[in-house]
């Protein structure tokens, strides 16, 4: 996978993850173009499209579009599954996730994604393991915050 973008129906970017090094300018350009292309598509149209030399796999969940770019030889269906799995993870973590959860806790959304996908490849297929890792890392964070508070 080359990158993943989350954006709203209004075209607002909610999350971006790039697994290929690109300059900010390029990223912006790609994002703009892609958001426009995907938003222009009708609801019943195919979730896959060819774009430049990449394949775009996207899926809309409520008001949010999840959009991944993969290479020519990658499998679209498994990418769709990755998207869905990520949504399930978000859902489990936030408890029936909504767009606002991702806006306000965007760093959490990134942490979850990082535990699930690494360098563009799915690293952990077990939902339980991903959530466990996140929870423990969160716990670590909470601990330290409370230690700090006590030390003050």
């Amino acid at each position: 996978m080359q990158f993943m973008l989350l954006f709203s129906r209004q075209g607002k970017l909610r999350l971006q993850k790039w697994y290929v090094p690109l300059s900010d300018k390029e990223k912006k350009k790609i994002t703009r173009e892609l958001v426009q292309t995907v938003l222009a598509r009708k609801p019943k149209m195919c979730s896959f499209l060819e774009w430049r030399d990449l394949k775009i796999v996207y899926k809309r969940y409520a008001s949010l579009y999840f959009c991944c770019a993969i290479e020519d030889q990658d499998n679209e269906l498994i990418t769709l599954e990755i998207i869905h799995r990520y949504v399930e993870l978000l859902d489990k973590y936030f408890g029936s996730v909504c767009e606002l959860d991702i806006i306000f806790n965007f760093e959490k959304a990134y942490f979850i994604l990082d535990e699930f996908v690494l360098g563009g490849e799915a690293q952990e297929t077990s939902k339980k393991n991903v959530l466990k890792a996140i929870e423990q890392a969160d716990l670590l964070q909470e601990c330290m915050t409370s230690i700090k508070m006590n030390s003050c």
Partner: protein, 943 residues
């Protein structure tokens, strides 16, 4: 210092955190840019402070702004600072910011090398984790070179959490610094067999990616991957491996053969999925794809599998998804071209089923079948062994039964009487003969009206010429039918010669429509009194009788016989013994013509047989039987039909709208049609639970013993307005309990696809239709519009009735609203009380006395306190709730009797004095009695 920290945290209280920033941006929609520029100024101030918490907060906000498209590259150094924090909370934010903002040309990356190395070797796995995650996003060739060794070490870390991350990131390292591949590869290969599935899948991912670039180098890993493919249950991994093999097989052709088996297993799983995926809209497309695979399939097993799957998919739920039966018939006809399939029978039964039930299709089906008969020689390459000739059974029957639709009946008649027919299996010949007679009747009808009377006579002559071949048949049924019909035709010919018109009378032989009957209809016909179906009429047949060709039920859709393994495994010795005995018997039997080797020889020596040239039919060219349409063209036709339908619908809608003349019309939704919009081109007669209406009064007979109330333990969870009420039992025989359930839809939505399922216990089992698994639910045979209730009955078999039982069950159903539908589940418990196994049975006092005297019964008693009701009420209550009858009553004392469905006698002696009721009871089954008494006690404790 302490003061500074305190001061810092106080300051912090006035800072915006990320949530404040997000909220602020959302509140300043009009002047977002301005608002953000002030925020950035604030952030710059925050970054200048020493407090790391403040800095981290600022960096976190910057990351958000970066996503919104603002340039934050100026803060790169601050990000590195936050990354280096010793606290995980900040480190995490720092690395996140870095992974979002850094790219190869970010110069501060150079400064991070040591920090990252330190984090990688941190004792805290989450420190290592964030470092690896971050690195995966911004790894540069320099970083890759400097850190390759550290990451390689991490591949053998004790924690799988770290191992899998390290493995995955190695791929990025390889890309940036290819020299690292060689030293790291052995370890990577080792990870393919890592005990942790996550690490394993990571290694598979990396190697698959590498192999994609250069497959040749990875051929040596094929055996390892093969092992993984056959052992792994992780679909994610499987997909990758299959793809890898896709790259490897061109290089090593031998791999292909090895892969067939595991791959077909996977394909089977996929085929099973297809079954649930079809809809009216995609059925044709899916079947078309499957047909392509059928054509390409190499193994017959796989091809047969595809064939059954196609038929399964098409015929599911009464052909629910078929909109065009002409298409389906052509698919079936195309399937007949499969040589050597075992499923000729299945195709045949489908042809019959469709031709019988879809009236509109008959003309078409008949035309197809006639061509099939005409080209029968193409189907029957190797007569006896070729299962496909079964379809001729269907073809002959359809052509005969619906012969009025034939365009050229004489030609078909001629085809059915060809000498070659005699080589077909017996049961097919029998159908040929019988249906030739039907056809004959039709032909006569057509010919007698004409002026030329010789034509009719010629037809009779044709029958008389050809039928003797069948009269000589070895198959008894063929023989019998043929000779019967031959004599009939001869008689007809005599009449014809006297210029008597016979057509009317001949066709009267076959008049009347054959109606399909529900498969369960027979069950509902009551068994006449005095008929014992289990008793042998004759002595049971001796074992040696071989089961020859069993008549096949052609109307049954599926044949369970096939799925059941045949028990023909008799050990060799036994076989030899029997063979010997048989030979002996035959030798002594003067009527038995011995199979001598010479007789076979005679046959072989028939002159010329060997010299007849056998023409090889080239099957690589798909056989296109002349006059037979290809199913493909239907796909196109159907598309056109639907388009037309849609267009018409649109027109109608437009008209409607015009009539309404509502000011501004809504935008026309030109999206693809929904399932409901597709109307079928032909309707099917659906015969499942319901029977033909006229058959109803005779067929239905239920043994209602409505007094027996099986209790409802009401339902643990309720669908807001859906209620399963009243479960009452009806008893049929000693081991069967019928539970009637009234389903009432109390919500505003439409309920459909209800499935009733109960978790069987050892003792009680829900009776499921033959062929379904022990955990399958039963489909409730109706749907419920809002506010409607309906009753369904379920039969349970119960072994022991001495104990009460609770069965857990679920009802699943689809709640359908206008725009959405959800799948819902309702859990419930079925309570089989012991009382429910009792049947009210009258008993005379003398019989009652005898029963008590016999001494077979064991006693027990119970005392009820504080019963505040007249004695006759009390008795009525026991009678009503517990299915007893009063034998005798004297003052405040009564004897009562009941009998269980398994014949246990239960006798009660009820006495009352004041508010105390004592019940002395006797029964031949003490456990049952105890439970019944408990239940009686409970009834009275509730009042």
């Amino acid at each position: 210092m302490a003061l500074k920290i305190v001061k810092g945290s106080i300051d912090r209280m006035f800072d915006k955190n990320l949530q404040d920033l997000v909220r602020g941006i959302r509140n300043h929609k009009e002047d977002e840019a301005k608002y953000i520029s002030t925020c950035i100024d604030e952030i710059k101030q925050e970054l200048k402070q020493d407090n790391i918490a403040v800095k981290a907060n600022a960096v976190c906000k910057l990351t958000y702004l970066q996503m919104l498209g603002y340039d934050v590259s100026w803060a790169a150094f601050n990000i590195v600072e936050v990354m280096s924090s010793s606290k995980f909370t900040y480190k995490r934010i720092g690395y996140l910011a870095a992974s979002q903002c850094f790219h190869e040309s970010t110069d501060v990356i150079m400064l991070t090398t040591n920090q990252i190395r330190k984090d990688l070797s941190s004792p805290n796995q989450y420190d290592t984790g964030v470092a690896l995650t971050g690195l995966s996003c911004f790894v540069t060739p320099d970083l890759a070179r400097d850190l390759a060794n550290d990451i390689m070490t991490l591949m053998s870390h004790t924690k799988p959490y770290i191992r899998k991350k390290a493995v995955l990131i190695m791929y990025k390292v390889f890309l940036k610094y290819p020299e690292s591949l060689r030293p790291a590869f052995p370890r990577l290969k080792e990870k393919l067999e890592d005990p942790d599935p996550g690490v394993q899948s990571a290694a598979v991912n990396v190697i698959c990616e590498l192999a994609r670039r250069n497959p040749k180098n990875y051929l040596s890993l094929a055996p390892l991957f093969f092992k993984l493919m056959t052992s792994s249950t992780n679909n994610w991994v499987l997909i990758k491996i299959i793809k890898l093999f896709g790259a490897l097989t061109p290089l090593e052709p031998r791999l292909g053969k090895k892969l067939i088996e595991p791959l077909t297993n996977l394909i089977h799983r996929a085929l099973d999925l297809l079954y649930g995926m079809v809809s009216k809209k995609n059925l044709m497309e899916i079947v078309k794809k499957l047909m392509l695979h059928v054509d390409k399939a190499e193994g017959t097993t796989y091809r047969d599998e595809l064939l059954t799957k196609i038929i399964d998919i098409c015929s599911q739920s009464n052909y629910q998804y078929i909109t065009n039966f002409e298409w389906y018939i052509s698919i079936l006809v195309e399937l007949t071209r499969l040589e050597g399939t075992r499923h000729g029978h299945l195709i045949a039964s489908q042809m019959l089923d469709v031709a019988i039930r879809v009236k509109a299709i008959r003309a078409f089906a008949v035309a197809q079948m006639a061509t099939l008969l005409d080209n029968a020689h193409l189907l029957t390459g190797n007569m006896q062994r070729n299962g496909i000739c079964e379809v001729l059974y269907a073809a002959a029957w359809i052509c005969g039964e619906f012969s009025e639709h034939l365009e050229n009946p004489i030609q078909t008649l001629e085809a059915m009487l060809r000498p070659k027919v005699a080589t077909l299996p017996g049961h097919i010949q029998a159908v040929y003969v019988q249906n030739a007679a039907k056809l004959f009747a039709t032909v006569l009808k057509g010919q007698e009206g004409n002026t030329d009377s010789t034509a009719a006579q010629e037809t009779s002559q044709l029958m008389i010429d050809r039928l003797p071949l069948f009269v000589q048949s070895a198959n008894l049924e063929v023989q019998e039918r043929a000779s019967c019909i031959l004599q009939l035709v001869k008689y007809i010919q005599k009449l014809q010669q006297k210029d008597v018109e016979v057509a009317e009378e001949v066709s009267a032989l076959f008049a009347g429509e054959l109606n399909p009957v529900a498969p369960k209809a027979q069950k509902k016909v009551p068994v006449p009194e005095g008929l014992d179906l289990d008793a042998w009429i004759n002595e049971p047949p001796s074992e040696s009788e071989s089961e020859d060709e069993q008549p096949k039920a052609i109307f049954a859709k599926e044949e369970p016989k096939h799925s059941r393994p045949r028990h023909t495994e008799v050990d060799e010795k036994e076989l030899a013994r029997r063979r010997e005995a048989r030979k002996q018997e035959q030798a002594n039997n003067p009527f038995y013509i011995k199979a001598s080797p010479s007789s076979q020889k005679v046959y072989q020596d028939t002159p010329g047989v060997e010299h007849i040239p056998v023409v090889q039919i080239d099957l690589s060219v798909p056989l296109k039987v002349p006059g037979m349409p290809m199913s493909d063209q239907y796909v196109k036709l159907e598309e056109e039909r639907r388009q037309k339908e849609r267009a018409e619908k649109k027109k109608k809608e437009k008209k409607k709208r015009k009539e309404k003349r509502s000011g501004r019309g809504k935008k026309q939704d030109s999206g693809p049609e929904s399932e409901e919009d597709i109307t079928p081109a032909h309707m099917v007669d659906i015969v499942t639970e319901e029977m033909p209406e006229n058959a109803l009064p005779i067929l239905i007979l239920f043994y209602f013993l409505s007094v027996n109330i099986l209790l409802t333990e009401m339902i643990a969870f309720f669908w807001p307005s859906f209620k399963v009420c009243d479960i009452q039992g009806n008893l049929q025989d000693g081991s069967q309990v019928v539970v009637s359930v009234i389903f009432e839809n109390k919500c505003d939505s439409f309920l459909k696809s209800m499935e009733f399922n109960v978790l069987d216990s050892l003792n009680s089992k829900l009776q499921r239709p033959e062929g379904s698994g022990p955990h399958d639910g039963l489909t409730v045979p109706f749907q419920l519009p809002p506010g409607v209730s309906n009753e369904a009955r379920f039969v349970f078999t119960v072994q022991s009735i001495v104990m009460p039982q609770k069965l857990k069950g679920t009802l699943t159903f689809i709640v359908k609203n206008e725009d959405s539908s959800t799948h819902e589940k309702l859990d419930f418990k079925l309570h089989f009380t012991c009382t429910s196994y009792l049947i009210t049975t009258p008993c005379y006092s003398d019989a009652f006395a005898k029963l008590l005297e016999s001494g077979d019964l064991k006693g027990s008693s119970v005392r009820l306190e504080g019963v505040n009701m007249p004695f006759h009420h009390l008795l009525a209550r026991i009678c009503f709730h517990h299915h007893f009858s009063v034998v005798e009553r004297i003052d405040s004392c009564a004897s009562m009797y009941s009998r269980s469905i398994q014949g246990h006698h239960v006798c009660l002696l009820v006495k009352t004095s004041g508010q105390t009721v004592s019940i002395d009871a006797k029964c031949d089954e003490p456990t049952l009695l105890g439970n019944v008494l408990d239940e009686i006690k409970q009834t009275f404790s509730q009042c």
